[in-house]
Symmetry: C3
Subunit: 357 residues, 3 copies
């Protein structure tokens, strides 16, 4: 390939993409996992997921050890997955149990397919992205799902952006007044408020104190009469964003978004929205859903443009201010984990700052 | 370009692609070579093929030495090909015979176009892929073509796969029971048979002894009443696969597939099928053709998926068993030739094994 | 990525692409620059161009220093451009004047957007491709525009080719008899003529002496009755081609093409055609325009094929004759400028040669 000669000014080649294989990620909804094998890519690694006739879920590297065709074009046969090319069969542990035509034993170490730990929880199928191990952690638990008085909605969307950019965007307050003008913020006069940021070794939280009820459509919908606002934004390792709002006594909304890094700049975001409002949930849901999708659609456009710019310039070159409250902190945690430099703490590092919203 | 950070587990970067320029390859059928220049790529090298007004075939590198536009956009003028940009003219030897406007002699060493040896035989145009030489070998001869009692059919198909993968697939027995289930094998109970493999320095042969008549549609068509089966699979350097079947005394079928490596993972396969059957050839042909195309279509799908997997994982990582009778042997011959380590032998190396078909 | 193994014969990896940032290039027509920001790439560098509410033009690097999204998706607000993501505002000097929500001063060195010098002249917007400087040169002046008796036509076209290849083509005589056969040259018997080539440090000129009136449609249109021909082809650094024809006393045509290198192999050509003919300009224009577009269309096809060949073979490998009068000289000037080895001269280096047209 001929290297381009005409290029933009040199950029540090940094990109905020971390390789974090020792964590659980959502692969798909439980209901989507059947005996028809399914190709799913996580951390750039092609996997085949399948459910045996006995109902057991399995996740293997999506490549037959024999001639490397994807196992996902094969079929489930009893408790095994069968390759579509030569009929080799693998159990959910990745062990080769049949080589058709062979007069000797099929099982051999070299014929194993890489196995990835798999679990089902809260209606999702989770995969632990280190092969052939038994993880000592469990997938993330969603709060408030199924609690009395709460309605829960599920939504999966995709962003052509890194997990870090997607989560920074999901937990960023200042852009809402511009990118989502009128829908969320950006119509009233700004007020100066306090923000308290607490960082642990595996999570960060920002509490917004003194925030008025958002002026836009969303705020009015949730709490027509205004009221005292409590607002937290949280990040949990490796890829979970959570926004919590309480407006007055009656309205509580909690949006937890679990991100799956498909490739460096392709993220699937599984959002679980649990809420309790004065207006009945069944009435709120049909109004909230299209609004949420419109807001996410605007974010998806800007995230894609950001990714394109990173590629065009050969890397990121960001300048942050103190208003970039969580993004840099999240990157710090991701990098520490990638480098194996995590030191567990009980007490968070706390910082306060002022901003105008 | 930004290198991807999220990638599948490391793979040896081996691919079974050999660069073998000292051989003849089929470029096209003779009837397809006219005075309209034709762009054809072999071994990744763009060539222009043309037939002069006097009927002589020519093959040159498809790049005008002057300003590098493809000569294939030009025209044949008498015994020469003329570039479409500035009108430079080259004879079939690649010598520049005219530079329009020039007041001095046109011929000059630097103005030569690379010439590739070209030959016509058995209805095909063959090119020897080393430029500017006089090869001391001749193209491969197809057996039985034109013999009394034989019918011959021709078919060219394409695979998005390497020559090695395409030929291994063409000469592989075990996949037929899975990929082509019902069409070829895979319906009856398997029998244990003997296979005798003989390897020379430039070819390999597998003889299947004790094989029952294939149970699928193809077997029934060729020999409705069953009968004793003789079956050979053969490879000839650099890229020829041959399957020979005799069923009973009356049925003889010989499929010779000459592969042309277009690029690393794009192969054109020119198949010549000569057969003598109890049922008249004119009746067999219209039934056999669509069946053969269906079988090849299934192979083409799996070969393409195999190629995609090789690219996704950054190389091949194959595990073979003794059922992979010819593939590893073929690769061995190709590599020896690529490294210039071929030692001619009179007696083959012979190996026997058992398999269930 | 897997490197290809099957490749054409090795080529020097030279490409005639020079990086010349210390020059003015045309970005667009003045009328196309409004308060709606516009993304324009020059020398591979993405720029945002905009006109403030007060009418002042601005050119900045098209990347917000904050989170790197293109400023071109933003909006003009008064005398500033506002980013569409978080609302940061920049003046035409690239200084950050507002960070919404921030309680401290917005202006900071790290928050500057790169500024490119911008000028408006002769109906075009020009950008000087070195950021943050005050250039001591001015954009190129088009001759004869607005002169008494002259008609001027404007046309912008695109070529999938380098600036060098595009200009060499625009100033090349021999190809017109082949690529544009019948339209321009190539129908009559060739005559031997003299060419005088003069090279300064920043321009080259070829004078064609004794050239007959071109035989094709264009020549007949301009001067039905024939007449004495004066013909100059000129190149001006860094990317300007000029063709001047006088046929008889009454016909004078001057085509000046200013090339903008978008990327290595993508060039936009802004042509300004000024002419004075015996036939009234208003009659000539509607006939000349489609003819000129047909000729350029043929050139665009061959330039694209040339670019594709360069990529296919991994570089250029040109053989020139003395008929390649200007191309090699132009490349010499471009390379000298790229290397900073320009020595200003008053007297040109002069060379004469013979050719047949």
């Amino acid at each position: 390939m001929i290297e381009p000669r005409l290029q933009p000014p040199a950029t540090k080649d940094h990109v905020s993409v971390a390789h974090l294989p020792a964590f659980w990620y959502i692969a798909c909804e439980s209901s989507a996992l059947t005996d028809k094998p399914r190709a799913i890519t996580i951390l750039g690694t092609p996997l085949v997921l399948f459910r045996t006739k006995g109902g057991k879920p399995g996740a293997l590297l999506d490549r037959c050890p024999h001639r490397n065709v994807p196992l996902s074009i094969g079929a489930v046969v009893g408790e095994r997955i069968q390759c579509g090319y030569h009929g080799w069969e693998f159990d959910t542990q990745g062990t080769c149990q049949l080589v058709p035509g062979l007069c000797t034993e099929p099982e051999a170490k070299g014929r194993r397919a890489e196995r990835y730990p798999i679990a089902e929880q809260d209606g999702f199928v989770w995969v632990f992205m280190t092969p052939n191990v038994d993880p000592d952690t469990e997938p993330f638990r969603f709060p408030n799902v199924g609690d009395k008085g709460y309605t829960t909605a599920y939504r999966s969307v995709e962003a052509q952006a890194s997990v870090h950019a997607t989560i920074e965007n999901a937990l960023d307050v200042p852009h809402t007044a511009y990118l989502h003008k009128g829908l969320f913020r950006g119509t009233g006069e700004p007020n100066e408020i306090d923000v308290v940021v607490s960082r642990w070794h595996d999570r960060v939280e920002a509490e917004y104190i003194g925030e008025p009820r958002p002026e836009g459509v969303v705020g009015k919908l949730l709490s027509p009469s205004g009221g005292m606002v409590t607002h937290f934004d949280r990040f949990f390792m490796p890829s979970i964003a959570q926004v919590e709002y309480r407006i007055g006594d009656e309205n509580h909304i909690l949006v937890t978004s679990v991100c799956t890094p498909v490739t460096d700049f392709h993220t699937v975001l599984h959002a679980v929205i649990s809420f309790r409002t004065r207006i009945p949930g069944a009435l709120v849901k049909p109004v909230l859903q299209p609004l949420a999708m419109k807001i996410f659609g605007q974010d998806a456009v800007v995230l894609k443009l950001q990714t394109e710019a990173i590629h065009r310039f050969g890397g990121e070159q960001y300048v942050s201010t103190e208003l970039d409250i969580l993004g840099p902190q999240i990157w710090r945690l991701m990098r520490q984990a990638e480098r194996g430099e995590v030191v567990p703490v009980d007490e968070p590092v706390v910082k306060t700052l002022k901003m105008r919203v």
